[in-house]
Symmetry: D3
Subunit: 240 residues, 6 copies
């Protein structure tokens, strides 16, 4: 099967990193196709860029001209998953929800450790909409921006692990979700520091997408995610 894994920012090296993570857990026979959005910001750290990423991810998937079996939206706490579900019949998996769903099988409460403090409310809102907030102990920020994770992985591990330890000790989290697509490769080092299971959203999403495909399950089309009605569009998609 072929799974599209779509980055939400336009930084190619992060798409590459996400792709490596996805491939490292994919089953034999699963082809991972990492995609970088056709347009948008080099990092997504707030609502403006996130809304732009939402529509960019949709356009990017629409431009992809080969068959595929599932799509993973590889941004943490980002807008847009519902739109993809309308456009597609194949399953769409958001990494925020994939991580939380997976964490809930491993402990009584989980926490998310993300990048900047300003991302916290976005993640909280996505978890609330997804109905996955009841067992979320906290969403904590390491204080590092998305691109800083790439620039200094060792500092990133320190900052993330420090917040993860606080989540376990102060908030009673029993599992930690790494709340950024770009944190994927730091997984093991953080795990070693905290003593609790660490869930990476991209990895979790790959196995969930594979599972849905294997079970023959597709997005329900009876109501919320019915295909868009025919429309007349003004000046869209943009001329490129």
């Amino acid at each position: 099967m072929r799974i599209l894994v779509v980055n939400v920012n336009t930084t190619q090296s992060m798409t590459d990193s996400i792709g490596r993570t996805a491939r490292s857990v994919a089953a034999p026979g699963t082809e991972i196709v990492p995609l970088t959005p056709l347009f948008g910001a080099d990092s997504v750290e707030g609502n403006y860029e996130s809304y732009l990423a939402a529509i960019a991810v949709m356009e990017t998937v629409r431009h992809y001209d080969q068959p595929f079996d599932a799509v993973i939206q590889a941004g943490y706490g980002e807008h847009g998953r519902e739109g993809l579900q309308e456009l597609l019949e194949v399953p769409v998996v958001d990494i925020t929800e994939a991580a939380a769903s997976t964490a809930q099988f491993l402990g009584h409460k989980y926490s998310v450790v993300t990048t900047l403090d300003r991302a916290v409310p976005l993640i909280e809102d996505r978890l609330k909409l997804a109905g996955l907030d009841a067992r979320c102990a906290s969403v904590r920020a390491s204080g590092l921006g998305v691109l800083e994770l790439e620039a200094d992985p060792q500092a990133a591990v320190e900052a993330i692990a420090a917040e993860a330890v606080r989540a376990v000790q102060d908030d009673h989290a029993e599992v930690i979700c790494l709340g950024c697509g770009g944190m994927a490769e730091l997984n093991e080092r953080v795990a070693a520091r905290t003593g609790v299971p660490i869930v990476d959203g991209v990895a979790a999403a790959v196995t969930i997408a594979e599972s849905l495909v294997r079970l023959g399950l597709k997005t329900s089309k009876v109501r919320t995610y019915a295909p868009p009605r025919p429309k007349t569009f003004k000046d869209w998609p943009p001329r490129t």
Copy 2:
């Protein structure tokens, strides 16, 4: 003061209708500037168009080159308000939230009557995120599409009033919110049929925006709606 009232679809006649409603309730000295998005669908009836509208509304407001004091996003149950709040210091008022906030001053429970059934989950989700769902008795659909409201206002009144009556009788709503920017001018006729207060989102939003401006209140910039961080954008904004 000058208030931008931004339609979410690209149908000029609906922008005109929204503008008329806004002007009909605006205080003396308030200038209403109705705007049609620079791009997007002629009606917004689902997540794909709504996400596109979110970014179109933001770009449209960014292109507006005169000073203004507040912005109203005149789409019911649509994405995007948070992005506008990041981009601007002046207050941003979403009509879904304006209507619900207003309705809560008038009765114990309120219901929303919207267009198509597929819009119901979008509205429910926006109310949940806004923390305005606890007193929402129901969100009901008239079954008419956005553009059908314009084409046959009498049928629209019938269909909307029928659902409003059910909301009052079966769901114990005491106030009805008209859940579509395009319903604004049907207000009085529906009120006559139901015997409960009818709240139009555009009208409510105008008075709320005026009030915030008068009180000197602006969007908080300390966390969720801090200005976007500097980014490098790829192929955005689109060439026009």
Copy 3:
């Protein structure tokens, strides 16, 4: 239009202060009529006085013999608003709810800073009943009694600002509501200390009441706030 602004305690200087605040934000053409309850306690700082104030406010409004267009109950976290809504057709606005509703347009979470710790549960309960608690980050007490606010405004500003800063830093509030009718005139000085929008309940309530009147909206009479049924009263109202 004429708006009655009813203090909940019998201290005339606080009625005066509330009246000044109300007039300072009222639109041209709005007449503010501050009223002091006919009976009750000189400050309301708990359930006993609050229940007494509830009925005193109702009797005071019933004794007012001129026409009016809306009523504001100017006590924070107090009982009684539902009773006024039954007695009247014109809109009734409680300042606790007015402040919270307004704050929700300005940030992701808001906090309330009130007077004494014992008032905190009353405010929390009123926000819960009003369905405005989901985005309330915290209700905090400055430790000063209602009349101490008047006696030493500078100490009040210090104490309130200190709690407001804690609400922003520790509870992630992005907006602060001043949780006492008597805090109205401290608004600007607290704002200067905290860097977030400060919402005063009386000011917010005036603009909301004006808006409801301008929109022609009145309290729904179909269920919860239907007029009282005819009753035989024993020894009530009290002989004066």
Copy 4:
């Protein structure tokens, strides 16, 4: 021990009925003292009368000049219990909460059957504040006014039993609370019609009050129900 059972309306025959019910379940050695409020409405069927009853019940208890061990407020869905708790050290038991607490020991969900539809939101609000709403399947109204219950007990049994049966069949209630002080003596006949346990609030409250006294438990005075602070009162209490 001596327990004051305070009616909320000024109809002496209902006080008598409540007193009979209370005595019928009281333990040997418990003295039941039924009290009729010093002032107020002959029946309480809405917020105005309920707020008046709140303060009337408090004044009535304050006028009672003998020692007592607990107080029962015998009105369903009425305001005021928190005020009594401030004024007194002995336990205060509200019959709405007594019935719900008791019902929760007997089935997975319970429903309340009350008098008029307009009382439903009041009861729902009191259960929400009491934190006893999570297992409430529904609050239903028989359509009979408080005094009609007395005038035609047989019609009352029919109307109440009919709603109780609907609550069991449609709402999955497993226990029914009779939602009116005046329903107390209809208990057995309704039980015979529905096949589920019927909880009368007055009876439940008597056993709870006795239990609290026997366990030596009193109202906590550390925060919400601390004694009222010293105040200067204007024209209160009323001259009689």
Copy 5:
């Protein structure tokens, strides 16, 4: 009347202690029958032992061959109450729920102080299922194991009182529930240290069970707690 008070662990001295507590509050004419489970662990401090205790308590009650009027399950935060309710018609009272229900009549919020930290999530889950979590300020652990309470009562008092004080000061609890069957006899000493009402679950459960019996109320049999359907059992009950 005869009430079975069933310990959840197989330590006879704890059954004795529970029995003493129960008898100390029982009404004249109430016979308390303390029972030790036929099988199971000497202390219950986690899900494995708790599930075993659930079935052991049920078997123990089934083996009891005399008539009885109510059953108390004397374990804090333990599984099994629902099973007993299916097997029996007489009321079943869980001490976790008895304590919480009782505490809610005494203050605005209550906290539970239990033994080990690992018991906290079990108690939280039971309170959530019982619908008694809305007014629970916190569940705190003293860090002492169940049997340590017995071995060193003075240290137990210190540890429990310390957490109780934190619950009052930091979590705004106004009442404390002692969260372990084995804490029953420490009640007064902890109360002296904290200044708030202390509720012991066993004592509360005795009065509630007596009350239900006195009111003639039994477990509803219409749905959740209907008697078990006839089954064929393999190798159960165990040969003894």
Copy 6:
């Protein structure tokens, strides 16, 4: 990898059916080991049998003397999963939670269709504890007992499909979970009748268990699911 799939009842033919379903979706290289409990009821349709099954499943897994990588508890709405998680380090997946987690990736709301009405509250409670209830539209019962599903599969399909259709039309479910281990093989036929995705808990659990193993994730041991403390057991395990 080897996955134990443990039936909750002692009917071997149902274990066989569950095993067939599990194997039909297992990845190459996954060995499915279906287990029948060592003791317990031939069908589990209520709390008594469910609590017995909880402890029987634990004992059965403890008796299994080969290595294994994950355990699936194949009963819908049953007790016990938390105990298994304490006893084991490998992942434990409950089919109720597996189905709900999976359904949430496919639609905005899901419903569960189960066997008997009395099972509904058990399933609702398990979903609430699992934090998976926010998007559950309804739990509906077909009215057929567990063993009737086996005896007359065609009638079962009819009854289940009828409730599934009601869930979609009346409750706005967009996905249906089949709420019984024994329904596994009816999946496709029900899907054909309803037009929405049908999720079988056993199939979903297999892919989730495989995914957790593949990701190297195990149950968190820091708090709720820490290994049981050393205990002295009386008369347990039972002599066989």
